[in-house]
């Protein structure tokens, strides 16, 4: 498929989502917005895990840091996009620090190091009541205005989030298309060889964590404004596992992998739960069981994720 056709399909798909949102129920628009928010975080995680090969179970911590920065700053009257920038910068530097263990340990050891970080951040959110409100959380988080237009409405806020997601995805695509993307892949495939070819594996490892973390921080800001109330629960490490699952189910290291994975992780359980067809009524009680079985079957049959389905039938092709 040539590039023009791909671009047309992509633009048509984005336009279709925008139209569907305009016609959808309020609860469905909420789900689409939530999907867009999680996609910002999973796009970042895909860079860290899928492209640079650095295991991370700490993405929800950055998501939470972004959300709490947003809650505090937006309530203090800081403009929304300034908050987005602050959250991105703070998470970038915290992610940079979290990248240091990756210079010493890899794979499941690194997974546990990042998981420990997530638990630490979660405990701070839960226990530092003066700042975070503890388990009571922070409520009344405002939604932004843009050029005088209020984004208070659910549809307006969806369009803002969706447009921001497109911008973030474009920036990541551009980054991965640059020589940095190739260096990340070299780091993932063979760090010893990469270093012997002049690839600064220290810099790229830290950058992979920092950029992935910044994306999660940005997602956290949009999340806080979406739900308007935050408490530590959504930033538990189970959310990190869910984000990692989204990346792996869709296709780790494939640009659109997180799109497929996040849609499945966020929307599939809801679709199963809401199914009104007589034959699928049992799903309303058993949807999580069915969802779990579907993920297990998928991982056994397609360990490279849904987007690797083509590779099962075709060997060799890189492009």
């Amino acid at each position: 498929m040539n590039t023009n056709v791909k671009t047309i399909i992509l633009v048509a798909a984005l336009a279709a989502v925008a139209v569907v949102a305009a016609l959808a129920k309020r609860s469905d628009v909420y789900l689409l917005t939530l999907c867009s928010v999680y996609l910002m975080a999973t796009f970042g995680l895909n860079l860290t895990v899928g492209y640079a090969g650095q295991m991370s179970l700490g993405q929800a911590a950055f998501f939470g840091i972004g959300a709490y920065i947003a809650a505090l700053a937006l309530k203090a009257g800081v403009p929304f996009f300034v908050v987005v920038l602050i959250a991105a910068v703070v998470c970038f530097f915290v992610g940079l620090a979290l990248g240091f263990p990756a210079l010493r340990v890899q794979h499941h050891y690194l997974a546990f190091a990042t998981l420990g970080f997530n638990v630490l951040v979660y405990l701070i959110m839960r226990n530092e009541e003066k700042i975070t409100g503890g388990t009571f959380g922070i409520s009344g988080i405002p939604r932004p205005s843009l050029l005088g237009f209020s984004m208070e409405g659910h549809l307006a806020y969806f369009y803002l989030t969706f447009a921001s997601l497109i911008v973030l995805a474009f920036l990541l695509w551009w980054l991965l298309r640059s020589p940095w993307g190739r260096a990340f892949a070299a780091l993932r495939d063979n760090p010893i060889r990469a270093e012997s070819l002049g690839v600064n594996i220290t810099a790229y490892t830290l950058l992979a964590f920092a950029i992935g973390a910044a994306c999660a921080g940005i997602a956290g800001v949009y999340y806080a404004s979406l739900v308007e109330f935050i408490e530590p629960g959504p930033f538990h490490f189970s959310t990190s596992l869910m984000m990692l699952l989204a990346v792996i189910v869709g296709g780790s290291g494939r640009f659109f992998g997180p799109v497929i994975g996040t849609v499945i992780i966020i929307l599939l359980p809801e679709l199963l739960r809401a199914s009104n067809m007589e034959a699928l009524k049992f799903m309303q009680k058993w949807y999580l069981v069915f969802f779990g079985i579907a993920v297990v079957v998928l991982m056994v049959w397609l360990p490279g994720g849904i987007l690797s389905i083509g590779d099962r039938f075709r060997k060799g092709g890189a492009k």
Binding site: W180, A183, A186, R193, S196, L197, A318
Partner: protein
Amino acid sequence: MTPFLEVKDMKKAYGAIKAVDGVSMSVGPGEIVGVIGPNGSGKTTLFNSILGQITPTAGHVEFCGEDVTGMSPLELSRRGVGRTFQTLQVFGKLSVRDNLIVAAQEFKGSLGSRLMAKPDAGLGQHADEMIELFRLKHVAHLYAGTLSYGQQKLIDIAMAFMPAPRLVLLDEPCAGVNPSLVDQLRELLVELNKVQGGSFVVIEHNMDFIMKLCPHVICMVEGKVLAEGPPATVQSNRQVLEAYLGN
């Protein structure tokens, strides 16, 4: 002739085992030096000690007059020292062309400028020339990991030469390569030596290959240099025949 690479009294011990035991060698500009020796004679340990992959117990390495002992592989590569490994070391999920581009892109500009650079980092044409030279055009857009061992070996070697290094250390370039490719590989190395003008140090078990390629050969046994000189001299050395060839 001023030595390009000079190794002085290099030692590497693992407990009581002396893997490299006082090896000294020098390589001149544009020179091709072969290193032979039976398995376990310390050739690869010597390479890894020179290249910063492991820390030597004692000894010095000088490259172009600079003491580079213990420098990291990254620092050495920045100084123009390339290498290949005994086992295949390609980037399996990158295309052949991308493998070659990534092998040289980090030598162009700064980290920041590479973010703003063209996707091929301005190396597309050079990569295509290397692909042509190594006869890999028909597989240029395939994932390197899906190719045959021999083809991956060629990619591995081509990658080492992409940034036009001043010194390349090749660890068993013929290992696992189809005998029909060995002559082609030797011709390629001779051509690259002429075109790029770099110095090579080659570890190899294929005697025919090394004797035809290298004007100077070093034979190592039990971590020490047993003999060195022109191929014919080393080949006829009685101790070499006994220790290495076994007759």
